[in-house]
Structure formats: structure tokens, C-alpha cells
Amino acid sequence: MILQTVFDAGVSIEYYVMLASILFGIGVLGVLIRKNAIILLMCIELMLNAANLLLVAFSTYYGKADAQIFVFFIMVVAAAEATVGLSILVMAYRNLRTVDISLFNKLKG
């Protein structure tokens, strides 16, 4: 509803697409250049949330609810993924005493 009024007020869909793309770009850049695994996890969440924003914006644009329901599921999946990721990181921290991913370099060739 809020988005609908915003659309009525004249904010066109392009701005939402731009915002979502910028957020997504920040997420991708973060994954590519940062070394701390926790930050990586945050950047991946940012990517997922950029997609959420885009879906909600398009959903309002088309006047359909299906994408908004999809967003709820994405949130659940993102939470599950973060849980698994953090537990893997805890395991790694116990073994190596670090979460710097550039130090995970036992496998090569």
C-alpha cells in the first residue's frame, strides 16, 4: 500500500530498479574484494535483499501479490543459509582460529 502511494506520487519503477541494482552491485563487489568471512556473509545478504526489493517493487508495479509471497520465502531461505554459513564458520574458527578466507588455502593444484 505504501509503495502504491509512492508510485502514485510519481516515483517511477526505474528508481527502484536503480536502487536495487546499486545495492546488488555493492554486494557483489564486497564478495569479490573483502576477505573477512562474516563481511562476505553480510554482502551475500545484501545481494538477496536487493533482489527482494526489486521483487516487491515489480510486484506493486504489476499489481500482483505473487512476488511478495516469494519475498517471504526468500527471507526464510536467507535465514537458513545464514545459519548454515555461520555454523560452518564456527567450525572453521575452531580449527584455524581465523575467519580470513585468504588463509583457507590447503587445497591447490
Partner: protein, 451 residues
């Protein structure tokens, strides 16, 4: 639908049985669940059950066939992985339950009819595998494999999701059939759709491990426990390719002018890079990882030369035969004692355990595509189907098959040669013999039964 529910329910049951700390009971529950699911799929093959009010998952005879393939491979890997799983008595059932949950996701991935269910299936498939890759908790390599797999997988998920959002923005629907109709009726396609297809293509190439997004797969394959490597190479790749086919060859088929050139380059690069790297490998699982990159290149030929159902049949036969070889080779890899599984430690396998050596050689020859074996038929069907549209690509693929024979034969020679040192091979479990005999029969007669 019935198989989906049975798999999920038996996964939960296995988790509870796991509390008894009796590995055998967990094995019986998990394999009984898989067996019942498989038999229900066979029984209802012609008239599969569907959800009454929900159309996100549609089980037709094709998707029942794919589901059956997934169930068969999961069952074989559960059986042959039992010796590994039961080393940790407290968690045997948990591992098997995670495998069952992951197989449930794979079932969703081969029978989806909208992008929503596809995404949920992909995540149900992937998340348990992230955990299972790291099940050797004290082993640094397993931890590293788990972390690498998790981050590449989660990154690919993010890219995929943004692609789905873009496609929704262009078409206003998640349904595969409506997207296909949209692409076929509109002459000029919106640029959102192109961006969305590109992003989805990138994430698919990540998931199946094709060049240039292959860098994670050798590390992950090497570090993970052998049974999970087998699961990734056989089931995850199978489900990924079927979903790839359903989306690109069917739904985005009308826009193939846009994505086909990219895929041609990717296929050629995958074949050459996989083969040329595989030649240099000394580790057995790394060899399999690089050869699987090559096999991804061959399977992309089937995606490229889309024309309806005949293609999905050839793709299925190819991946089916490949899966049996993978199950055999990774079961053999489970038998190697030392931590780093070099090819040299397979020395004398065929002399010490003639039957296991024989099946392993069959699997390698089948992967190389030697005629009477199952793998040859898969390759032949994919190549002959693709020849009409892409003759040059098929010739490149055949050259690469020739290169591939070199390192497969080299491994076979190691297995056949005399071992004068202490043998690195563990005594096989009786379940290994069961799994290997099933695979041997499939590899020998599969080509005549299924083609």
C-alpha cells in the same frame, strides 16, 4: 508427489532414529525410505500423482523418470557411504537425513513449473550439501571445502535471485509456460529479460561448474568426504542440468540467439580446460573433478541443441551413465587409506581386489566412451543430436574425448600394475560389493536397455 513426501518424512524419521545411536537402524530407515519412494515412482510411472490445488510442481512421466534417477543415485551413495558415515556413531542418521532432505530438493528441481518452486528446490538441495561437505570436522581440507562451497553457492544464489527478479520484471510472471509464451509472442524483448537471462546463466554455470565459474569445483571435490563428492557430481549436477535444460532450452528457447553464443564459448572452454588440467593431476578426486568439468562441456551440447523431448532423453541418458561411473569411482576412492588420495595409492587395486578393480575399470572406460559400455551411448546420443546444428562443436568434443582417453587409461594402468609396497587400500565393506555390482550391471547392459 508421493515420493517427495515419503523422502521428506523418512528424512525426519531417520533423524529421530539417529537418537538411538545405532547406525544400522539409521541405514535401514534411510534406505527403506529411498526404496519405497523409488518403488512408488515406478508404480505410478504412467499416472503420477500431483498436488490437487498446487501447480508449482508438476509430475509428468519425464519428471518421474528424473526423480527416479535421483532416488537411485542417492540410494547407491547412502549404501556405499555407510562405512564412512558409521565411523561417527552419534551422527550417522543425521548425515543420512541431510542426504534425504537434499534429495527432496533435487526432486523439486526436476519437476518445477515455476521459478518460485525452482528456487526453493535449489536451496533445499544446496543447503544440506554445504553442511555435508564439512562433515570431517577435524580435517582442515574438509572445512575449507565446506567454506568454499558455501560461499560460491550462496553467491550464485544471490545472482540467480536477482536474475529471477529481473525476469519477473520483464514478464510479470513466474510460470515457465507463461514466460515461454511471452518470449515467443513478443518480437522485441525487453532489456530486463536479457539481463535476467544473463544473470541466471551465470549462476547456472556456477552451480554445474563450467568454465569460467569452475574454480571452486576441484577444491571442493578434493576436500569433501568421498561420498559427498559423489553426491555433488552425480545428483547435484544431474538436478542442475535438468533444471538448466527446462529453463534455457524450453522457457528461454525463443531467446536462444542471445544466450547460445555464450554457451558455445563456455562449452569449448570447459572441454579444453577440464581435459588439459586433468592430464596434470596426481590426486584421484581432483582428476575426477577436472574430468567432470569436461563432461559439463559435453552436456552443454545437449542444452545448446534444443529441440523438445528427444534432447532431454539424450541428456538424461548421458547424465545417467555418467552418474553410475561417478558412484563407482567415488566408492573406490572411499577405500583409499591415507588422507591425500593420490592416484598412485590405487596401485595394485585390480590385483588385490579383482572384482572392485574390474568395476572401476569399467567405470573409467565408460567415462572415456568406449563402445559397448553405457557411457558410449550417452555420448553418442548427445553428439549425434548436436551434430546437425553445431558440427564444429561436435568435432571439438570428439577431439576432447580422445584426449580424455589418455588420462583414463593412465589411471587404469596404475590400477592394473603390480604393487610392491604396502597396499593403501582398505578392506571393502560388504555394501561396497553390493553397490559396485549394481553399477557394473548398469554400466554393461544400460546402453542396450535404456537407449
Amino acid at each position: 508427489m508421493d515420493a517427495l513426501i515419503i523422502l521428506f518424512a523418512s528424512g525426519i524419521l531417520t533423524m529421530f532414529i539417529s537418537l538411538l545411536k545405532k547406525p544400522v537402524l539409521s541405514l535401514i530407515t534411510a534406505s527403506a525410505g529411498l526404496f519405497i519412494a523409488g518403488s512408488l515412482l515406478v508404480l505410478n510411472f504412467d499416472h503420477p500423482l500431483n498436488f490437487i490445488k498446487y501447480e508449482g510442481l508438476i509430475f509428468d512421466s519425464a519428471s518421474v523418470l528424473f526423480s527416479l534417477t535421483i532416488v537411485v543415485f542417492t540410494l547407491l551413495l547412502t549404501l556405499s557411504g555407510y562405512a564412512y558415515f558409521s565411523k561417527e556413531k552419534d551422527h550417522t542418521g543425521d548425515y543420512m537425513a541431510l542426504m534425504l532432505f537434499s534429495a527432496t530438493g533435487a526432486l523439486c528441481m526436476v519437476s518445477f513449473s515455476d521459478l518460485f518452486m525452482f528456487f526453493i528446490g535449489l536451496e533445499i538441495l544446496s543447503i544440506p550439501v554445504y553442511v555435508l561437505a564439512g562433515t570431517k570436522k577435524k580435517d582442515l581440507r574438509s572445512t575449507e571445502a565446506s567454506i568454499k562451497y558455501f560461499f560460491t553457492g550462496a553467491f550464485a544464489t544471490g545472482v540467480l535471485l536477482f536474475g529471477i527478479a529481473m525476469i519477473y520484471g520483464a514478464t510479470g510472471t513466474f510460470k515457465i509456460a507463461e514466460i515461454e509464451a511471452f518470449i515467443n509472442t513478443n518480437d522485441t524483448l525487453p532489456s530486463f529479460l536479457h539481463v535476467g537471462i544473463l544473470l541466471m546463466l551465470a549462476s547456472f554455470l556456477f552451480k554445474v561448474g563450467a568454465v569460467p565459474f569452475h574454480f571452486w569445483s576441484p577444491d571442493v571435490y578434493e576436500g569433501s568426504p568421498s561420498v559427498m563428492t559423489g553426491y555433488m557430481a552425480a545428483v547435484v549436477k544431474f538436478a542442475g542440468f535438468i533444471a538448466f535444460f527446462k529453463l534455457f532450452s524450453v522457457a528461454f528457447g525463443g531467446a536462444s540467439d542471445y544466450w547460445a553464443p555464450i554457451l558455445i564459448v563456455v562449452a569449448i572452454a570447459s572441454m579444453f580446460l577440464g581435459n588439459l588440467s586433468a592430464i596434470q593431476q596426481t590426486q584421484f578426486k581432483r582428476l575426477i573433478a577436472y574430468s567432470s568439468i569436461t563432461h559439463v562441456g559435453y552436456a552443454l551440447l545437449a542444452i545448446l541443441s534444443f529441440n523438445s523431448l528427444l534432447n532431454v532423453q539424450s541428456l538424461w541418458i548421458y547424465l545417467f551413465s555418467y552418474g553410475f561411473s561417478i558412484v563407482v569411482l567415488l566408492s573406490v576412492s572411499m577405500l583409499i587409506k591415507q588422507e591425500d588420495d593420490s592416484i598412485a595409492s590405487l596401485k595394485g587395486l585390480a590385483r588385490k581386489y579383482p572384482f572392485i578393480g574390474f568395476v572401476a575399470i569399467l567405470a573409467l572406460l565408460s567415462m572415456a566412451g568406449i563402445p559397448p559400455l553405457f557411457g558410449f551411448f550417452g555420448k553418442y546420443m548427445v553428439f549425434s543430436r548436436a551434430f546437425g546444428a553445431y558440427p564444429m562443436l561436435v568435432i571439438i568434443a570428439i577431439i576432447n574425448s580422445g584426449i580424455g582417453i589418455y588420462y583414463y587409461l593412465r589411471t587404469i594402468i596404475v590400477m592394473l600394475s603390480e604393487n610392491d609396497q604396502e597396499s593403501m587400500i582398505k578392506t571393502p565393506h560388504v555394501l561396497h560389493y553390493l553397490v559396485l555390482s549394481i553399477c557394473a550391471i548398469a554400466l554393461m547392459v544400460g546402453g542396450f536397455v535404456f537407449v
